[in-house]
Assembly symmetry: C2
Homo-oligomer: 242 residues x 2
């Protein structure tokens, strides 16, 4: 990016000997990889609503039309983003004795990844994870579950339900806080604001909400998430009698 031997923004030197066309050196072909990189960058910065083909093109110093040769459509690009984000997650080598903790780690990584890429949950909806990255991820997670002694059916089911549980939990963490830069205090503020609002409600109409308003600010998201995982993984293990 910062190569002094090749300043990209300089005007052509005077006394140009070579013809203009030869100087405007043929850019190396845009790769699909690079498009996905640029798209994820735009996504992280501007969210899904800010992810336009024109903007991705801009990032690559081209027009939107140039992308279509590589990715077919915006939806195709979203497919690639989806798979890339899955591929980014490392899954540990199976350790039969520790399958529960390993599964929990997998879930924690999922959540962290989802939160680090704005609006990925929205992108994942309606997309069946069958890209190369998703396949590798799924194969390795299944490896952990099998090492844990689960039956074929329970392993597959467990993996599918784990995805559901993690996606569901991260959905309501995926707020649309635009003006704020940090996220932690925001979520806490929102929780406190919600509690105050619930507290102010007419108790006749909403007796339970008013009575329990204080409980809406308990704990943080991390421990809530771990609680959910414990409930789920315990239940799965019990069901599999492992």
């Amino acid at each position: 990016v910062n190569d002094p031997s090749d300043p990209p923004d300089l005007p052509p030197p005077p006394f140009q000997r070579v013809p203009q066309r030869a100087n405007k050196r043929r850019r190396e072909p845009i790769t699909t990889e690079a498009i996905v990189d640029a798209a994820i960058k735009v996504l992280d910065e501007h969210g899904l609503d800010g992810l336009s083909m024109r903007r991705v093109g801009e990032e690559l110093d081209t027009g939107a039309a140039s992308l279509y040769w590589h990715v077919g459509s915006k939806d195709g690009l979203l497919d690639l983003i989806f798979d890339r984000v899955i591929a980014e997650q490392e899954v540990p080598e199976p350790d039969p004795a520790r399958w529960r903790e390993q599964l929990k780690d997998v879930a924690v990584t999922m959540r962290r990844t989802i939160l680090s890429h704005r609006d990925v949950v929205r992108i994942s909806i309606g997309r069946i994870p069958l890209g190369p990255g998703a396949l590798r991820w799924a194969d390795r997670v299944l490896g952990i579950l099998r090492a844990g002694g689960l039956s074929n059916e329970d392993a597959v089911l467990g993996q599918q339900l784990l995805i559901a549980v993690v996606n569901g939990f991260t959905i309501d963490e995926t707020g649309e806080r635009e003006p704020d830069l940090e996220q932690g205090p925001d979520h806490e503020d929102a929780g406190a604001a919600a509690r105050d609002y619930l507290e102010s409600l007419p108790p006749r109409r909403f007796p339970n909400l008013v009575a329990l308003s204080g409980a809406f600010t308990q704990g943080d998201q991390e421990t809530r998430f771990e609680t959910l995982l414990d409930i789920f993984i315990d239940g799965l293990a019990k069901r599999a009698e492992v």
Copy 2:
């Protein structure tokens, strides 16, 4: 809708005595209610991507601009849709002895409602359910959990996690099958196609996927969903020692 005394599509009668303007009778003001109705209709038929302000206006025989006085913005309209869909769900009167079954019923209703309104999950993302319909729903669900003997903290947590679990499960049922009309066989077909694909993979690279490919078509979505609910509700009850 079918009022013969007032056929809406007829041209004005001949020998018109009243001036044109008086005839073109002042439409009664559009209500926010009617806008939400129209929007949900468009949503169910064309999905979220087909839900444009122009199309909703069309449904109401106006232009898109006319809606802005009532709903402020498209996002505001989506808020209203979200709350309406929640309000549509009935929650039973608490029966202390049956709190587990009641909670399960609530979840089943949620899923059915979500599946009946295209793309509601996508709409729900990033929206905090604090509209009147959502408040009523939440208050009644909390009533069931309290009747079950859960602590304040567990009741609130249980309700929040239940939403997460149901949303997560319905997310991957929310496919984008455009050409098909029915949904059941489609999902099964997709499952079978996925299984065949997994079966054909190189076993060296994806040993678990290939070995377990057969397990990907087990059971139907209803039983999978019930399994998840059983795991979750059992775990919640155990945690609350109820």
